[in-house]
Subunit: 406 residues, 2 copies
Amino acid sequence: MGVIVQKYGGSSVADVECMRRVAQRILKTRDAGNQVVVVVSAMGDTTDDLIDLAKKINPEPNEREMDALMATGEQISSAILTMALHQLGADAVSLTGPQAGIFTDSVHTKAKIRALKPKRLLAQLKKNRVVVVAGFQGLNPEEDIATLGRGGSDTTAVALAAAIKADRCQILKDVEGVYTANPRVVPEAKKLDEIAYDEMLELASMGAEVLQSRAVEFAKNHNVVLEVMSSFVEKPGTLVREEVRNMEDIVVRGVASDKNQAKVTVRGLEDKPGVAGLMFTELARKSINVDMIVQNVSDKGETDITFTVPRGDLAKTVRTVEGMQSDLGAKDIVANEDIAKISIVGVGMRSHSGVAARMFEALAKHKINISMIATSEIKISVVIAKADADKAVQVLHRVFELGKKK
Amino acid sequence: MGVIVQKYGGSSVADVECMRRVAQRILKTRDAGNQVVVVVSAMGDTTDDLIDLAKKINPEPNEREMDALMATGEQISSAILTMALHQLGADAVSLTGPQAGIFTDSVHTKAKIRALKPKRLLAQLKKNRVVVVAGFQGLNPEEDIATLGRGGSDTTAVALAAAIKADRCQILKDVEGVYTANPRVVPEAKKLDEIAYDEMLELASMGAEVLQSRAVEFAKNHNVVLEVMSSFVEKPGTLVREEVRNMEDIVVRGVASDKNQAKVTVRGLEDKPGVAGLMFTELARKSINVDMIVQNVSDKGETDITFTVPRGDLAKTVRTVEGMQSDLGAKDIVANEDIAKISIVGVGMRSHSGVAARMFEALAKHKINISMIATSEIKISVVIAKADADKAVQVLHRVFELGKKK
């Protein structure tokens, strides 16, 4: 008996049949004695279709109008899902983001949630109705609709769960939970029963693609217990929650690989203060998200800097650095797209030593060459050749015994 | 130099090409020195597609949810049209019905406009922006979106024109104006330069299908000058306005035919008070819109009543009357779908006599049999066989010299 927020993504509500299945799933949760708030994404490809339509009319559509346009996708799916619940005899009502009391800042197409006033939602819950909220949207200070950007529906769900003090926020997806590694790469990968927010954040930002970082951060800040679970199979998923003591017993929670990175090396830089700062400031100004940075200093007054960026930003990055080449006093610029970033993540690393050594040793034993290293308190990442990525994940999964029953 | 409200229907904004053409048309009106408010319907078949989707999920969808669903159609077209205006370099902004300050009553799917608070719209106009309003919708007292029912976008345009005291409300359609008769039936039919509200109301309720009665009534009540004109050809349309003195010089303004009527005769009714009342009260309770009624009294204490209803309601009407047959003491019930209602309309009838006689004579001369007659101050309607409908319209158009240059 509790209050549960369930979020269904676009592929879970892609068509009429899917809608019916989701409606049944919702009612099972309700019939188990829960009050249920549902957050729903746009049906299937609706959002992409709307973007295509807009770009045909105007290659650079105004962002306020894009938000007005895109928000309709979730409004359609919330109304349709509510009708599906009615068809099954349930009392249900749809609310748009603004009606659900979601207030955002003024940044169109990637607004942040600023306030929640879920009075209307709570009143409907009190009437024992299933409340179906259009995800991904809210009302901004100008009283315009604003969308929350990628993963916005996850964020809607977590924010509402926090605001109404829900017992759990379930994110229903086409996977059964968070795994120790990508099961397509590591067949013996195990579904995790639980994972700490910080671990999930490291994995999310690492291309594990299960949850959006923003949603996890929101959950962490408001202590919302998340559950990532399958929308098709009914069984427990993975709980994402505050770190509890015994979580540190496990040194490595999971292995992730990110093949969407590219590496840039700027060679023969003048080794004087401010040169690196100049370059990275300019890249930041162009919204290029630099991830790992390594600098080698030579004794000739020269230095090499290597850094990674998302692959989609590589061309822009190279153009930017080339444009500054004389200012930087750089000899040349080398780009490499054939790389992958492999990371191991676990809060247990804080209290266990020798994890990095074990990782490097294992990779070396399999002749996998490491070109960059970055570490945080609970994560070790290495850059290797893309061709070695899957092998590296398999090796590390085995070495840290992630496939073993605990 | 003035304030103009323009309304574009679904076929005028059916696709990207249409949208571009409409955007150009809007800018011509603005560049002529006007402030322009645009009211737009959903693109092409969008509304029908949304209804189909809803019915697949739930054959009897909840009306509040239907409104939430259907309102997205106009929200999409208003955003897209605004982007098209931007693409042409114009300053423009879209508003939903609620944002434009349209407040309705609580009747979902056929809400009536109760109040207009166009503060936000006026503020945008003041910034010299073209304001594109999503038609067909408003906010109800429950703060839910409500749609205005058939012809709702025309009503939105007229209501906004009234609220902001626009100089003119232009309804852009795929016809060039209001004609003396349907040009497909009468090739020499003439486009009218002007027509009085009351004449337009009689024609609208008579299947002329150019303007919705509700919009004309609203225009009449608020003295909004309407102009029905082509969205494709740029030339003056038909002004729909208050009656002015010389309008009475023309006896008959137009001829209309309505083939969507059916006739029901209830024979051998007991001729006693209350019998007819009983029957029509029950039909009204079932929302069947009875139009013409004729009663013949015989000398045997019996009577026959004949009345017309919309053809789509015929089966329900017959079922209803059959269900009351013993209460009514009726002998039998005869239905006839092969009828048409032909009407001549003109405010000049008030001051000219002999119009009905000329009409009946002309029809008789062409062997067209009249089975029912109904008149108002500015209209004479007759029911004839459907097969004779087009001939009757042609005959009356000629007799009253409607094709002549005035």
